[in-house]
């Protein structure tokens, strides 16, 4: 009940106590009215979206689930009979699941990649959940023992029969390429980003040239060069693995992108942070590791994850050098005479899209969670 003071002199007698805010329009009706039907324009958009959904969703659901074929052992199952329509051919995906996962990895040895994948996902969850005990040790194991064990299990030797990388395929290759790329490109990107900001001309030039060359070349070219051109320059008899060449190409390529993302983060750190660190006597590497990078990397998490997601999907390009990732393995099976029907191609592609989406969406969600968790700063 305060009135507008019009007099020159005013002295407050007592301070007002804080009050609860006025009640908002709560509940679902309130939300709907506020977000969907707040203005004529909004109403028009909401209604047309509803119409669009009503038009598109039922046939899609029908194709995906109701008319879909779930079981069967060959193309007979997915062929339209007596004029009835046939939807997605899930029987095809079901029958080929092992191939989509492992490629032509020998059937009796498939326990090896299976074991690697299980250990990987358990280890990843362990490292990713902050509450877990022994987390620091788990990180070290995942970065040291796990890659060695993975190489041994997947490739073989020391008592295990050797499986050449040309027989690897499917999701296995997608994961190997993507994860190696991710793990290698982050430290490489950090070093290149620091190098590009270095005051030492030699280091700076090397970093700039590296970044600009790799970033300026399409990934397809990199992979193609790695598989076709590189052997021409190697002495005869020296042959190094096609998958390994692809791994190195992808890691260097992504590292160059990563470097520019991280450099953006470094540039966002105020000069005062560098000076504060220096004034306490911290050396270059100490201040980078303890002060600058933790803040810079946090700022660019969206950009880093963007690169990871992009890399994960780009693994499909290894197809052009004759390696078959998830998408490649699926496409290869389209020509299987035993299954050839009109619906296997869309079914296979939708399956591939769904698997890629699950991985990429998980990365996206985890990065959002990390951003929230690390948001301690709110700095001035």
């Amino acid at each position: 009940m305060s009135r507008i003071e019009t007099d020159t002199v005013f002295v407050r007698r007592d301070f007002l106590e804080p009050e609860a805010p006025p009640p908002s329009l709560g509940g679902i009706p309130g939300w709907v009215r506020k977000n969907l039907f707040s203005s004529p324009f909004n109403i028009a958009i909401s209604l047309s979206m509803l119409l669009l959904l009503a038009w598109a969703l039922p046939p899609l659901i029908r194709w995906l689930f109701i008319d879909a074929v779930w079981t069967g052992t060959n193309r007979e199952a997915c062929l339209p009979k007596n004029g009835e329509t046939v939807g997605a051919c899930w029987a095809f995906v079901n029958a080929k699941l092992a191939q989509f996962t492992f490629g032509s990895y020998p059937a009796d040895q498939r326990w090896r990649p299976s074991l690697v994948m299980i250990v990987f996902f358990v280890g990843l969850a362990w490292v990713a959940i902050p509450r877990m005990p022994w987390r620091r040790q788990a990180v070290w194991l995942m970065l040291t023992a796990f890659p060695v064990a993975t190489f041994w299990l997947l490739y073989g030797g020391l008592g295990l029969p050797i499986v050449e990388t040309s027989n690897w395929g499917g999701l296995l290759v997608t994961l190997v390429v993507a994860i190696t790329g991710i793990v290698a490109s982050l430290p490489l990107g950090i070093l290149l980003a620091l190098g590009r900001r270095s005051k030492l001309p030699f280091i700076k030039i090397v970093s700039v040239v590296f970044i600009e060359v790799w970033r300026g070349v399409p990934l397809i070219t990199v992979l193609f060069m790695a598989s076709v051109m590189l052997p021409l320059f190697l002495p005869t008899g020296v042959n190094f693995d096609k998958l390994l060449r692809a791994l190195i190409g992808v890691a260097l390529f992504t590292g160059a992108y990563m470097a520019e993302t991280i450099r953006g983060g470094l540039q966002a750190i105020p000069k005062g942070q560098f000076e504060g660190a220096a004034s306490l006597g911290l050396g270059y590497w100490q201040s980078m590791r303890l002060i600058i990078l933790p803040q810079a990397l946090k700022i660019v998490i969206p950009g880093i994850v963007n690169s990871f997601i992009s890399l994960f999907k780009d693994t499909s390009l290894v197809m052009i050098i004759g390696l078959y990732d998830l998408l490649g393995s699926i496409q290869r099976n389209f020509s299987d005479a035993n299954w050839s029907t009109p619906s296997i191609a869309p079914t296979g592609l939708i399956f591939a899209a769904a698997v890629f989406w699950v991985f990429c969406f998980s990365m996206s969600r985890y990065s959002m969670y990390m951003e929230r968790k690390l948001n301690t700063g709110r700095k001035r």
Partner: protein, 255 residues
């Protein structure tokens, strides 16, 4: 050889010695023949209009800025391009900035223990005890587990002072420590600085807090256009400035 001799030299009477220091920012001659000698335990206040080179002067003392001509000797160590010597000097010289420069991703306690642990190689537990000691001295031990962003400006600046003290510096540099604070918070920071002065810390402060200068300074230095224009003990400096430029400046700020 000279290095080790310097490192083990007995404590000199002079804390900071600047001889004929010149510095340029590109074409701009920012420090022109600055000569300054600060004895141990002495408290110097540097004032002057903006752009007069006062901040640059003290930033040269811990080599946040590089001088191009002249000599700077800090705690018996001459500052050159030798990174080892620069680190040695920075270990002994604390600095408090206008904008605090606390590390926003670390708690108050971690801000204070970081340098003792990594630079002085102090065990974590001991570093935390030292940090709590100094946080208590600046009267905010209860904030130890908060992040800088959760504190007021005055509290942050007191943390910054505590963070410097945790390295047990022999010399403290203050670069306009109260200029970015809300008026109500200036006093708490100045009180902390007065306390430090009373304990005999060697201090060089760039500040416009003339009350502080009167209370604790042994000498007030007035700079303009990159040079020292006048220096005197505070009473004489304020009541009887000699140079026209000083009179004009004091007339502007002491209404």
């Amino acid at each position: 050889m000279a290095d080790t001799a310097l490192a083990t030299a007995p404590e000199t009477e002079t804390a900071v010695e600047m001889i004929g220091v010149n510095k340029w920012f590109g074409e701009f001659h920012v420090l022109r023949d600055v000569n300054l000698s600060v004895k141990r335990g002495e408290r110097i206040v540097i004032c002057g209009p903006s752009g007069s080179g006062k901040s640059t002067t003290i930033r040269c003392i811990n080599r946040l800025e590089e001088h191009q001509k002249g000599k700077i000797i800090v705690d018996g160590i001459e500052l050159t391009n030798d990174l080892k010597r620069i680190d040695e000097v920075r270990r002994e010289v604390g600095m408090v900035f206008q904008h605090f420069n606390l590390f926003p991703h670390l708690t108050i306690l971690e801000n204070c223990t970081l340098a003792p642990i990594w630079v002085r190689k102090m065990p974590k537990k001991e570093a935390e005890e030292v940090a709590m000691h100094f946080l208590t001295r600046v009267k905010i031990p209860e904030q130890a587990h908060k992040y800088p962003g959760q504190l007021s400006g005055g509290q942050q600046q007191r943390v910054a002072i505590a963070r410097s003290l945790c390295m047990r510096p022999k010399i403290m540099l203050f670069d306009e420590p109260t200029s970015a604070l809300d008026p109500e918070m200036v006093k708490e920071v100045l009180d902390t600085m007065v306390g430090l002065a009373e304990e005999g810390m060697t201090m060089i402060c760039v500040t416009h807090e003339m009350g502080f200068a009167r209370q604790v300074a042994n000498r007030v230095i007035f700079m303009d256009q990159g040079q020292i224009v006048e220096q005197n003990e505070p009473v004489e400096f304020f009541s009887n400035p000699k140079h026209e430029r000083t009179k004009l400046f004091l007339g502007q700020i002491l209404h």
